[in-house]
Symmetry: none
Subunit: 159 residues, 2 copies
DNA sequence: CATTCTTTGACTAATATTGACTATTATTAT
DNA sequence: ATAATAATAGTCAATATTAGTCAAAGAATG
């Protein structure tokens, strides 16, 4: 317990390396194979580190591009102070979401000043039954849940 | 290290070069082989850059002529009014929509002041690959098209 | 021991780059 | 005029260069 550095695994080291850069920068842009080479791990371990340690819940958004000149960019975002509403809404959705419940959620977001009227309208259009219909009510509810969760995660941060 | 990775791919550099000219001019007229020579790439790469980055959806029209004195001209399109923008975007979507094209559309909406930055990112969240993924690329593109059209239609009367 | 977390690598997907071949237009020769 | 040649740009498929996914194996934890 006294010497706590010694028991870090490589994923932790990579996480620390990236977060040290992010302490001084709003974002870090890497070439996956370079970082993998630096720590002598397979490239896909970089994905593992990112998926487990740089989530939106932790205040990071990640984007990437493949092909020549490809990269992975990790960006720090400022999380909103009051995210409890979002957390509980996401938890309540689970993996299916009915049209009626989705409307309740949008209303809740509006009541909590997390979205304005126009944003509410856009969200409702995105999960409109005709848009996401799949000739299968269960699949439609799953799709609606996925889209809604994606949007709720977006609302976690400002900008 | 940190903010900048020096290595952008060449296509991005060519795109940036042309857009810098277009920032000050309504159009740019080039000789394909000259630009290719300038960036030390094969001439057909110029076509690749144009086809992937100067589409009508992004507000450019391209015309060219072969033979002696041949050229490629890229022209910024002036979109008439908001409804026209939305109509032409909807018409251009058809029944499938790739991630790349969807990003172009959102950029066009933003450039034409039809949506703000936050609305743009909500829309992108709604059509995010992970959200609408169905283990089937074709279905994902269809779903993306449906959702985008639904949102665009909403914007028509949302004002 | 059971469970969860980490590490690995084979396979997949997306994007960029290249070059051989084709098409069009202008210029030159007959 | 017409035909040949030169000077452009276009298309498409092969190859190269990245990152992503997933499941199995291994390690750590309780």
């Amino acid at each position: 317990m006294g010497d706590e550095m010694a028991d870090e695994n490589i994923s932790d080291l990579i996480e620390r390396y990236l977060k040290e850069i992010l302490a001084d920068n709003e974002q870090v842009k890497i070439r996956r194979s370079e970082i993998a080479g630096l720590f002598d791990v397979v490239p896909s371990q970089i994905n593992y580190v990112i998926n487990t340690r740089f989530t939106i819940q932790n205040g990071y958004i990640v984007e990437s591009k493949r092909g020549g000149g490809g990269y992975i960019r990790i960006e720090k975002v400022r999380l909103l102070d009051d995210i409890d509403v979002l957390d509980s809404l996401i938890a309540a959705i689970g993996n299916k979401l009915s049209k009626r419940d989705s409307e309740t959620i949008v209303q809740t977001l509006y009541n909590n000043d997390l979205i304005n009227r126009r944003e509410a309208s856009i969200i409702l259009a995105a999960i409109d039954k005709d848009a996401i219909d799949l000739n299968n009510n269960d699949l439609t509810d799953i799709m609606r849940a996925n889209i809604m969760i994606s949007i709720l995660n977006r609302l976690r941060y400002e900008g």
